[in-house]
Amino acid sequence: MAGVVLSGVTKVFPGGTRAVDAIDLSIGEGEFFSLLGPSGCGKTTTLRMVAGFEAPDAGTILVGGQDMTSLPPERRGMGMVFQNYALFPHRTVAENVAFGLKMRSVPREDQAKRVRNALAMVRLQGLEERRPSQLSGGQQQRVALARAIVIDPTVLLCDEPLGALDKKLRQAMQFELKALHRRLGLTLVYVTHDQEEALTMSDRIAVMRAGRIAQLGAPREIYDRPTSRFVADFIGDTNILEGTASGHMLHLDGWASPLPQALPPGPCAIALRPERVRLGAPGAGLVDATVEEANFLGDAVLLKLLLPGGTAILARAPRETDAALLAPGAAASLAWRAEDPVPLEAA
C-alpha cells in the first residue's frame, strides 16, 4: 500500500534551471530504491519533493495511492534521514528520538518504550542521555535512523546518509541498513552519488542526469548493460572504446574487438569493464598494449595500458598474474570474450 508513484514531476529553480524534468517513477511497496547520480543531477530535489520540503512545479506524487502533492511535510508521515543527520543539538539522544512521538502526542510511557525499541534496533542502548555532539559520526548516524523509524513510517527517505562516514564504518552500516530494511519491510528511497553504495544495497536503481532518468533497473542490469556512455562511465571503472562496427566486429586502430551481436555498420562505442580484460603474453590476444602503470589493490592489480593508437585502457588482473606483465614498460596482450563489450547508444 505504500508504493511511491511520481508522475511528470518537475521542479524549476529560480533562474530557469529544470532541476527535475518531468520525471515518472513507480517505486514498489517494500522496495529499496536508489536515486543515483552526480551532484546537481536532481536526485536530492526529487527526494525533497517526496518529503514535502519542496513543492513540484508540475506533476503529482502519490504514496500508497493517496495524492500527497500538496500536503505539508508534517502530514505525510514519512521518515527522513538527512545527509548531515540534522540532529537537534540542544536535546539528548532520547529526546531526539522521541521528538516525532511527542509531536504525535503519544503517551509518555509509550514514548519511552518505543524510543528504547528504536535505539535497540540501531544498537545504541545506553547513550540515551548523551548530546549529539558527544557522539561519533557513526553513532549520530544511528540516532538519525532511530529518530526516523520510531514513528513507524511506511516510507523512509535517506539523503546520502552514509556520506560522512569513513570506508570501514560505511561498509558496516550498509549491511545494517539493508538488514533493517528487510526487518521493517518499509519502502526505502535512497539518494546517493556513490555507485558502489547503490549497487550494493538497492533492489532497483534510477541513474539520474540533468533532471532526467538516464537508466532504471536492477543493479546487475545497470552494471552489466549500461545503455549510455554516461551510465557506463558513472557506474564503476569502465573503458570506452570507439571504432567502426561491421557485423560482429568493432574495428579500431589496426585491430578489432568482437561484439556480442551484429551491429549496423558505422561509428560505434563500446563499454568494457577492466575486470573483463584478460592479460596474456604478447601476441596471444586481440591486441598488444604497453603497461604504463600497475597499481596493487591487495586482492588484485589495476593496470593502465596504452593501446596502439595511444588510448589508455584499464585492466584488472588477478594478483597471481606473471610479474613480467605488470612492470611499467612491459608489453602484454589483451583479450576478452565476445559477450563482454557493451555497445553504447550514441549519446
Partner: protein, 259 residues
C-alpha cells in the same frame, strides 16, 4: 619577535584601559582630586554617590530604561531579523547590510530628530520619547547578533522537525527558538549596555529633573568636581563587567565574541 609582539600588545592594552585606571584611582582616593598613586583607599565617594537622592533617582531611571529597552528592542530585533532572513523580501540583502552596520547612523542624529518630533508634535520631552530613542539605537545591536546566529542556522533542523510531524509554529518553538537563544541573549545584553551608557540621545530627550545617570553625571560635573563621578563611573563599569560575566556563564565568551 615574540617579545616585540608581547610589548605591542601590552602597550595597546594599557592605552585602551588607561581611562578605566584613572577612574578607579580617582574613585578610591580619599581626597577630592586625582592622584597617582591614590593617597589612600576610601569608600567615601561611593557612600556619597549611594546616598545622593538625585544620583539614585537617575540610576533607577537608567536601570528601568535599560530593562524596558531590552524587552522592546529584543522582541523587535528578533522578529525583524527572522523576517529579513526568512522571507524572500526584495532588497533584503541591502537591508541586512544596513542593519548590520548600526554605527553608521550617528546617535546624535537620533536624539536631535526625536527631540524635534516631540517639539513639533507638541508632546514635549517625556520618558516615552526617551525610551523610543533608546530602542531605535539599541535594536540594530540585537539584530546584528540574531542575524549572525540565524545565518549559521542549519535549516535542515527545521525540516527534520517538520518531517517528524511538527507544524511550522511547533518547529519554531521546539527547534529554532532554543537554538538562536544565544544570539538573542547576547543582543539583549548589548542593548542594555547601549541604553545604560547612552549619552547623546538622552542629552536631547531627558526632561529636567528626570535624568538618566550619564546625564546626571554630566550635569554634576559642571558645578562640582570630586570623586562622586568617579564612583558612579566605577559602578557603571562593574555593572558592565557583571553582564559580561553573565554572558560567559550563559552562552560562553568565545561564542559571544563571534557574534
Amino acid at each position: 619577535m615574540r617579545a616585540a609582539f608581547l610589548s605591542v600588545c601590552g602597550l595597546v592594552l594599557a592605552f585602551l584601559l588607561l581611562p578605566v585606571l584613572i577612574v578607579l584611582c580617582f574613585a578610591v582616593n580619599p581626597d577630592p582630586f586625582l592622584a597617582f598613586p591614590p593617597s589612600g583607599v576610601s569608600t567615601r565617594w561611593f557612600v556619597k554617590f549611594v546616598t545622593s537622592r538625585d544620583f539614585m533617582a537617575a540610576f533607577g531611571l537608567s536601570l528601568t530604561l535599560g530593562v524596558a529597552t531590552v524587552l522592546i528592542a529584543g522582541t523587535m530585533g528578533t522578529l525583524a531579523s527572522l523576517a529579513l532572513l526568512r522571507s524572500s523580501l526584495p532588497g533584503r540583502r541591502a537591508l541586512t547590510g544596513l542593519f548590520l552596520s548600526p554605527i553608521v547612523l550617528p546617535t546624535i542624529l537620533t536624539g536631535f530628530a526625536l527631540f524635534q518630533l516631540a517639539m513639533v508634535s507638541g508632546v514635549g520631552r517625556n520618558p516615552w520619547i526617551l525610551l523610543a530613542g533608546h530602542v531605535v539605537v539599541a535594536t540594530p545591536y540585537v539584530m546584528r547578533t540574531v542575524l549572525a546566529v540565524l545565518a549559521n542556522f542549519d535549516r535542515s533542523l527545521e525540516e527534520a522537525a517538520r518531517g517528524l510531524g511538527a507544524t511550522p509554529a511547533q518547529a519554531f518553538r521546539e527547534v529554532t527558538l532554543p537554538l538562536i537563544r544565544p544570539g538573542v541573549i547576547a543582543g539583549c545584553l548589548f542593548a542594555f549596555i547601549v541604553s545604560f551608557d547612552q549619552f547623546p540621545v538622552s542629552l536631547f530627550l531627558v526632561s529636567p529633573g528626570n535624568e538618566t545617570l550619564p546625564i546626571a553625571m554630566f550635569n554634576y560635573l559642571r558645578f562640582d568636581f570630586d570623586g562622586t563621578i568617579a564612583a558612579a563611573s566605577t559602578v557603571s563599569i562593574l555593572l558592565a563587567v557583571a553582564l559580561v560575566l553573565g554572558i560567559e556563564r550563559t552562552i560562553g565568551l568565545q561564542e559571544y565574541a563571534k557574534l
